[in-house]
């Protein structure tokens, strides 16, 4: 294959002529490169040129469309071309323009409207999801044999047991860090003993549940959204419904129940390990013995705080599962939608968790404080 080429010359009659030669096919044009193309465009800008294409050995649609554009989307008046090649341009002349493309004048208004509508749709869908969950529970009260036991058990294992190592590691490290930083301050004030109060309150009431919720939202929430999303893409959910299996009862309900069970348990587990981490650091930094720590903890932190932590864990778990299912069921059958909804699920779940936490902080402000 000879490369695509062009040459300018003066014809016998004195008119400028551009001679095309070689193979005007996509491969040759790409091989000639972008600078060659720019030079060609400069030369072709002269509308009085005579085009001599008799030397073209091969012409494909890419080469033809390129020439067509060089000519300003019409055949030049002076053109020499083999008849077989001329045919191609007749086809190209008939190409329709891609539809649409024009910008709407009030695009920003439409975007704003769509955004608010989308928020409303989210709220509506979320309420529908919640309502369906309540209906499922009523249904289960009347038909206890429909309880999806295996799904619940599998979800508890996946979201609870498998999450234990990572929550323990993070909890321990946070305990160490919190204890270490507090110890530095407390020693200056000579208030070493208060390390127990700080760790006890901070971890049991606030940090433990929040830490677990963030980890679970990132770990299990995203997995749930992605799983439901892929099931939507592959029409597995449709297949379930077609078999008469209610999708909410089989897919949403077990996830909500599983997280409602596992998150409080993980809160206990993580808080315990974080306290152990804090205890170890306090022992190193402040010489506070383990025996004293165990002794002082129940006196410093009323047991109501443990209950608050557990209830928070329950609420966080339910919220994360609901948000994950909500976004999972919204996934459209394309890759973009899957990644968008998974991200949205995690971000929304964490935001929800922090909102709920704030509500708890206000509602329980008088409960569980030391006398």
């Amino acid at each position: 294959m000879n490369p695509a080429g062009f040459a300018l010359r003066r014809g016998e009659d004195g008119a400028d002529e551009i001679v095309l030669e070689g193979a005007w096919v996509l491969r040759a044009i790409v091989a000639a490169g972008r600078p060659w193309l720019v030079r060609l465009q400069e030369v072709a800008a002269d509308r009085n040129l005579r085009w001599n294409g008799l030397g073209i050995e091969a012409l494909d649609s890419a080469g033809a469309v390129l020439l067509w554009h060089l000519w300003g989307r019409r055949l030049p008046e002076a053109l020499l071309l083999a008849p077989g090649h001329r045919e191609l341009f007749a086809r190209i002349a008939g190409i329709p323009k891609p539809p649409g493309g024009g910008r709407e004048p009030y695009a920003w208004l439409v975007a704003l409207g769509l955004a608010s509508l989308s928020l409303a749709w989210h709220v509506r869908d979320f309420i529908v999801l919640l309502g369906q969950l309540v209906l499922d529970m009523l249904h289960l009260l009347r038909h206890p044999s429909d309880l999806p036991k295996r799904e619940i058990s599998a979800n508890i294992y996946k979201t609870g047991v498998r999450a234990m190592p990572v929550t323990a590691l993070v909890g321990f490290l946070i305990g160490v860090v919190l204890s270490y930083l507090s110890a530095l301050q407390l020693r200056q004030l000579g208030a070493d003993m208060f390390i127990v109060n700080i760790l006890g309150f901070g971890i049991i009431r606030e940090l433990g549940p929040l830490l677990v919720a963030v980890l679970v939202a990132g770990r299990s929430g995203s997995a749930m959204t992605a799983q439901l999303g892929v099931m939507r893409v592959t029409e597995e959910i449709d297949a379930l419904v077609a078999m008469g299996v209610p999708r909410s009862l089989r897919l949403v309900f077990p996830k909500v129940v599983a997280l409602a069970v596992t998150v409080p348990l993980l809160v206990v587990w993580t808080s315990g390990i974080a306290l152990a981490g804090g205890m170890v650091a306090a022992n190193f930094q402040l010489d506070i013995g383990y025996g004293f720590f165990f002794d002082a903890l129940p006196k410093a932190v009323p047991v109501a705080n443990l209950w608050i932590g557990l209830v928070k864990g329950f609420a966080f778990g339910v919220a994360i599962a609901l948000v994950a299912c909500h976004f999972g069921l919204r996934v459209l059958p394309n890759t973009e939608s899957l990644s968008f909804n998974t991200t949205a699920s995690v971000v929304t779940a964490i935001t929800f968790v922090i909102l709920i936490d704030a509500v708890f902080a206000i509602v329980t402000r008088t409960i569980g404080m030391p006398l």
């Binding site: 972008r34 193309l37 494909d60 649609s61 890419a62 469309v65 190209i92 008939g94 323009k97």
Partner: protein, 257 residues
């Protein structure tokens, strides 16, 4: 250019997958302009062989050459240039689901980073017209397309780089008989107009009868036979017998008898 090398040349190829030999010392040479149907029992490694031609799988032993050049080695630029000389139509279309039809067909052209957007736009619309899709299909998303349209868009995308070789995996699988027939007619007319070489895997007898100029029978871990349909039909082998002389086969190949 004087001695035109075969478009596809497979020499002494062996493939071992999952502890089992799929191909043993397989040879195949396809000349320019042929439309070759690759047929064989399911599990005989037809799709595996096609994937080796595309370069998605490397053979355990032996080599695949396209246009006389090896598929692998010689740097990224050479490998890429070679891959731009053939187009692939995957069984499910493999359209990029996040792009609309227009962007799907324009994608390989934009990747060249040579052509202007205006040229690309006309080229895409030309390809759409070639595969007999209306202009307003350009802004549909793959999820909104029917099975037949997906195949057409995928074909347009496979043709967007003006390939010399077209590789098709089950081109008519999942299409209604009349859609299949229209698609076969389309592929055939495009191949004749553009002078394409085609290799396709199929188990649809009608597709073989409608499209193939030659048939390669894959059995006993090698190319058992390679030739025109009427030559292949004379071979006495259980697979050939089952495939071509079954009730359905007799119907599809009546013209070759």
């Amino acid at each position: 250019m004087s001695s035109d090398p075969p478009v596809v040349s497979i020499r002494d190829l062996s493939t071992r997958l999952g502890g089992r030999w799929i191909h043993r010392h397989l040879d195949l040479e396809i000349k320019r302009g042929e439309r070759v149907a690759l047929v064989g029992d399911s599990g005989s490694g037809k799709t595996t062989l096609l994937r080796q031609m595309i370069g998605l799988l490397t053979p355990t032993e032996g080599e695949v050459r396209l246009f006389g050049e090896p598929l692998f080695g010689g740097g990224v630029a050479r490998e890429r240039a070679l891959r731009q000389r053939f187009g692939v139509l995957f069984q499910q279309g493999a359209l990029f689901s996040a792009f609309d039809v227009f962007a799907n067909i324009a994608f390989p052209l934009r990747e060249l980073k040579t052509l202007d957007e205006a040229v690309i736009r006309d080229l895409v619309m030309l390809k759409l017209e070639m595969v007999e899709l209306p202009a307003h299909a350009a802004h549909l998303m793959p999820a909104q397309l029917s099975g037949g349209m997906i195949k057409r868009v995928a074909l347009a995308r496979a043709l967007s780089l003006e390939p010399e070789l077209l590789l098709l995996d089950e081109p008519t699988a999942g299409l209604d008989p009349d859609l299949s027939e229209a698609f076969e007619r389309l592929i055939r007319s495009l191949c004749e107009r553009l002078g394409l070489t085609v290799v396709f895997v199929t188990h649809d007898l009608d597709t073989v009868a409608a499209l193939a100029s030659r048939v390669a029978v894959l059995a006993e871990q090698r190319i058992l036979a390679y030739g025109a349909i009427d030559e292949i039909m004379r071979i006495d082998h259980p697979f050939v017998h089952n495939f071509f002389h079954s009730t359905r086969g007799r119907h599809a190949f009546a013209a070759f008898r």
